[in-house]
Symmetry: C2
Subunit: 247 residues, 2 copies
DNA sequence: GTGCTGGCTTGACCGAAATCAGGGCTTCGG
DNA sequence: CCGAAGCCCTGATTTCGGTCAAGCCAGCAC
């Protein structure tokens, strides 16, 4: 379902009007004319949980904006051990620029909607618009910051701290509404217990045990296995291990 | 010791002539004229092991090219637990663009020589030269790949696999000479046992034990605690845990 | 020389998390 | 209806790596 109905009188493509990527995502780098040309090449997809987006060691033919849902980036050892090395939320840009092969797998963790572009279109637009490359650069720097934060969690935190840190991270990315340390925050976990364990370097049993512990201690409530309410984010924070960057 | 002796007849600043960053580093993005103006702002430093380059939560006033030595990037929890989140080798660019505060510490692991520029000079030059930003972007993407590789090691590998993976990584970054799976490779470890443990999410005792085990098994030889010889890189690889990206 | 410090190694012991096992609940398809 | 498959929870047991402790050695100050 190709988009791009090249209407000359419309300065911005119809489908881009309500698109989050148009504002906070990478498409915000493009002027109306560029956006029209770019939108001619895009396609929209919906992918169900578990669907593969990018296979490890496969050539990459397209890039995408993530419009809704959560994507998990994974790496797998040959004996099956798996590590989730990143989570992406809308309006993130998906794909590794400047490399023909991906070194990681990308998979839909929840239902996901994408706006995809052919590889060549992104590369052409990037040459044309330094601002586009600039936005991708900034996103990459943020991903690097996140990756390094996760490294501390993986290498130096205990199981209880890991699970608390995960909930805090998800809460901050998924919650809708005001952000307050003392207001109740609730959200749906985008991952199963097994996936959380692959994110934190634990087993699903340990994740389950730590979640029940947080529940019986009154830090969180859980409904239907997935819906989490955090009454006090600050109590959750206390369980994350001393914050990085004291002072 | 400011450099930049603005000699009009010299198309390339004297000190840049023999500089690795001029070729494979970020300065390769600049034309001679830009390089002359840029070099006027640079200073060279030598820093001894343990010297701090960037403090966590401190404002960043300068960026640098790493000319020689190894820099470790660390994050610390408030109770003192530490994680090394990256190692940098020449001719890497040091510093986090677009943020006034660093979220990590950078410290000299070995003796280090730097070519430093004021923050403003880098930002000005980046606006002027998209190619400079492009190179920084590419380095950042490589750092992200490295970070994600390390995440697999931290989250899913055993202690013996972690230590083997570390030696393999260092061997590939520090060795001089031909790269062959069967030729002996030797190098000096740039980190102490305690630092290696902070890199791998282990204790110094465990690192020591695993190194001993690799030694008695004949995979490596160690002289003076620091100098390592790997007779067969392929035997070392076998101990790293199944490779990521089978096929 | 002596003593001190810091890095490294090794051993004994312990504990946090993995492993193994069982059972409950929901969903889905016959 | 039944049964199978997934996901989740919990208990019992094991084990890997952490903790504690001791000792060696090289470098350095005095």
């Amino acid at each position: 379902m190709t988009v791009g109905q090249n209407i000359h009188s419309s300065p911005i493509p119809v489908l881009c009007h309500s698109c989050e990527a148009r504002h906070s995502g990478v498409c915000g780098a493009l002027d109306p004319d560029q956006l029209v040309r770019f939108a001619e090449t895009t396609t929209r997809h919906k992918i169900e949980p578990g669907g593969a987006l990018i296979g490890d060691a496969e050539p990459v033919y397209s890039y995408s904006n993530l419009l809704s849902g959560v994507v998990k980036l994974t790496k797998t050892l040959s004996d099956g051990r798996q590590q989730i090395v990143g989570l992406q939320f809308s309006p993130d840009f998906l794909g590794r620029p400047f490399k023909l092969e991906s070194a990681i797998n990308a998979e839909a963790a929840t239902s996901v909607t994408l706006c995809s572009f052919p590889r060549a279109a992104v590369e052409r637009m990037m040459k044309e618009s330094p601002e586009l490359e600039h936005r991708l650069f900034k996103q990459t720097l943020n991903e690097l910051d996140d990756a390094r934060e996760l490294m501390v969690t993986l290498g130096r935190k205990t199981a209880p701290e890991k699970v608390a840190s995960f909930l805090l991270m998800i809460g901050r990315n998924m919650h809708s509404g005001v952000d307050s340390a003392e207001r109740p925050t609730c959200f749906d976990l985008p991952l199963t217990r097994a996936e959380i364990s692959d994110f934190l370097g634990l087993t699903n049993e340990t994740v389950s045990r730590q979640l029940t512990r947080l529940r019986v201690d009154g830090v969180i409530r859980i409904e239907n296995k997935r819906h989490v309410t955090v009454d006090s984010m600050s109590r959750l924070e206390q369980r994350c291990g001393g914050r990085v960057a004291p002072l």
